[in-house]
């Protein structure tokens, strides 16, 4: 049956104060539209998990939705710092932010453990690093076999809610992604509740024509939201480019609480929905971000009747 919902409904019904929320997507397919709706609905005391908090979490943390951050790389990719997050960590301004820190592979393995219902996951990292000394969840373990190899293990990460953006899905939530895959599949399977946001909802037949392309099956999905340009200023491979200019602008906007608040007022609180956001940027902006086509070609699955 159909799981289609509006972003307003999905965030209202599936994201609760105090939840651990993972909006995943490694540079690609970061669902800013969902982050903005969470800000708009003034959710509070969230624990935000993401490998790379990126500008979206700087906006959400600047807006005061979070009390804790779980991450592996804290920055504005290719630009510099996340100033709102740094103010919270360095100066407790306006309030402290609890952090729990891993390496990229550690975060990925936490999602894999969560997705696999495993109580721990082994990883050959953290050797002679200070990271385990500041994160007691990263513990050493010895192989029970003759080699006795030392590894570290990380615990499963099971978000209350995972929000992942895909290029397309059917009304059942069967979602297909191409281009960078990040750890969205693992985050979705690891989560208690899953919101899939897409550039377009397509007929189930489109999905079934290429089942190997399906990254997240509907069985793991609670809501499907159609939100074109929902990743901006992140990107959707084949649909629109990363808005690098905005990532650069954000460095300036976020440096001062006043300018950050003004931006949230104008671009989030001041708008009803992501549709308004898209309209406010204007058609010319979106046209400029649209890439020329680069088609995949087709493969033949064969009909066996």
């Amino acid at each position: 049956m159909s799981k289609v919902a509006t972003m307003q409904e999905a965030v209202r019904d599936l994201v609760r104060d105090g939840d651990t929320v993972a909006i995943e997507g490694f540079t690609h397919l970061i669902c800013f539209a969902a982050g903005h709706e969470i800000i708009r609905q003034r959710k509070r005391d969230l624990t935000l998990a993401r490998m790379t908090p990126d500008v979206i979490y700087d906006q959400m943390i600047g807006a005061g939705v979070a009390r804790k951050l779980i991450f592996s790389w804290l920055g504005n990719p290719g630009v510099g710092s996340l100033h709102a997050v740094r103010r919270r960590i360095e100066d407790a301004d306006p309030e402290p932010l609890e952090i729990e820190e891993y390496s990229h592979f550690g975060m990925v393995c936490r999602y894999v453990a969560g997705a696999s219902n495993l109580p721990f996951f082994p990883i050959r990292s953290y050797y002679e690093s200070d990271i385990p000394s500041v994160n007691p969840n990263i513990v050493p373990m010895t192989s029970p076999y003759a080699d006795g190899t030392e590894v570290y293990v990380v615990p499963p990460l099971r978000p209350d809610v995972a929000i992942v953006h895909a290029q397309r899905a059917d009304v059942n939530g069967d979602a297909q992604i191409w281009g960078l895959l990040g750890c969205q599949k693992e985050a979705a399977f690891a989560a208690e509740r899953v919101i899939v946001v897409v550039e377009e909802i397509v007929d189930e037949a489109v999905i079934r024509r290429d089942p190997n392309r399906t990254v997240i099956p509907g069985v793991a999905v609670d809501a499907v939201v159609a939100e074109p340009f929902g990743c901006h200023p992140s990107f959707a491979q084949g649909y629109y480019d990363r808005d690098n200019a905005f990532y650069l602008d954000w460095d300036r906007i976020a440096r001062e609480p006043a300018s950050l608040d003004a931006w949230l007022e104008e671009w989030v609180y001041g708008l009803e929905s992501h549709r308004d956001y898209v309209e406010k940027w204007g058609a010319a902006h979106w046209d400029a971000l649209r890439p020329a086509p680069a088609l995949s070609g087709e493969v033949d699955y064969g009909r066996y009747a």
């Binding site: 696999s116 059942n172 069967d174 399977f189 999905i207 190997n212 099956p217 069985v219 793991a220």
Partner: protein
């Protein structure tokens, strides 16, 4: 010898087993399908009591829409037109081990009164009389699927008092222990044979005869198993296959009769 034990004029023992099993899938969302009878059972249920049933195959297919009856669980007809094809690691880790599978079918060479299953050897493991296929996915399916249905013919050699090898765990006989296991599976919930249908007693975890198929006497059931079976109070008779169930089986699902004659 019990091959056609329950055969009445009009339908075969297999057709009775298929119909009775399919009814057990009413309203189910997804089911781990085995080859052979379970495959026909699931396809019948999809056309009758469980229209929304998603077929899952351990070969890595979710939401299959087979255009023909597959001979194996890896038939190409299962991938074409399915919802998702995934690596077997992901199927077993993210779907099965993570608890997304509602129902699974298991077969058995031997089963005991608590639903423990042997598909590994007859005789000693090191010097087997008969070397059987082994676990395949059965061991983890028995542990992680939320409901386990067994479909098999019964007889003195298959319904045994003592397994030669326990491949897949059933009930322990101690429900408190079962509850504390922390896995979803924890024993079959029903067994359908050529003679009748069985549930498992909440209090004892023991297989309990629920219905006998039309024309099958309780004595006949007793003679066809290696222990004295518990019998449900008010033992009933399995409703025979309906005309529509038989039509679907014979015309659509197994026209060749490979599995059902």
């Amino acid at each position: 010898m019990s091959a056609d034990a329950a055969t009445e004029p009009g339908y075969s023992a297999s057709e009775m087993m298929i119909a009775a099993s399919a009814r057990g899938l009413a309203g189910v969302r997804n089911c781990f399908v085995g080859v052979g009878l379970p495959n026909i059972v699931c396809n019948l249920a999809q056309r009758t009591v469980a229209p929304g049933l998603q077929l899952v195959y351990e070969s890595g297919v979710f939401g299959a829409r087979p255009e023909r009856l597959p001979l194996s669980i890896g038939d190409p007809t299962l991938a074409t037109g399915s919802t998702a094809v995934t690596s077997m690691f992901e199927l077993f880790a993210y779907y099965l081990q993570a608890g997304l599978i509602d129902v699974a079918f298991l077969g058995a060479a031997q089963i005991d009164r608590f639903g423990n299953i042997n598909t590994t050897v007859i005789g000693e493991y090191a010097t087997p009389k008969v070397r059987l296929p082994g676990s395949g996915g059965a061991c983890e399916i028995a542990i992680h699927a939320r409901r386990i249905l067994v479909i098999m013919r019964q007889g003195q050699r298959s319904f045994v008092d003592r397994l030669d090898f326990r491949t897949s765990p059933g009930h322990s006989g101690d429900p408190a222990h079962d509850a504390a296991r922390g896995w979803w599976g924890s024993g079959p919930t029903s067994v359908v044979t050529d003679l009748g249908t069985y549930g498992f007693d909440e209090a004892t975890g023991e297989m309990t005869l629920a219905t006998t198929h039309p024309g099958v006497t309780l004595e006949r059931v007793r003679e066809s198993m290696g222990w004295e079976p518990a019998v449900a109070p008010g033992l009933g008779e399995t409703p025979p296959p309906t005309t529509e169930e038989l039509r679907l089986i014979r015309e659509e699902l197994d026209p060749g009769g490979a599995y059902t004659r």
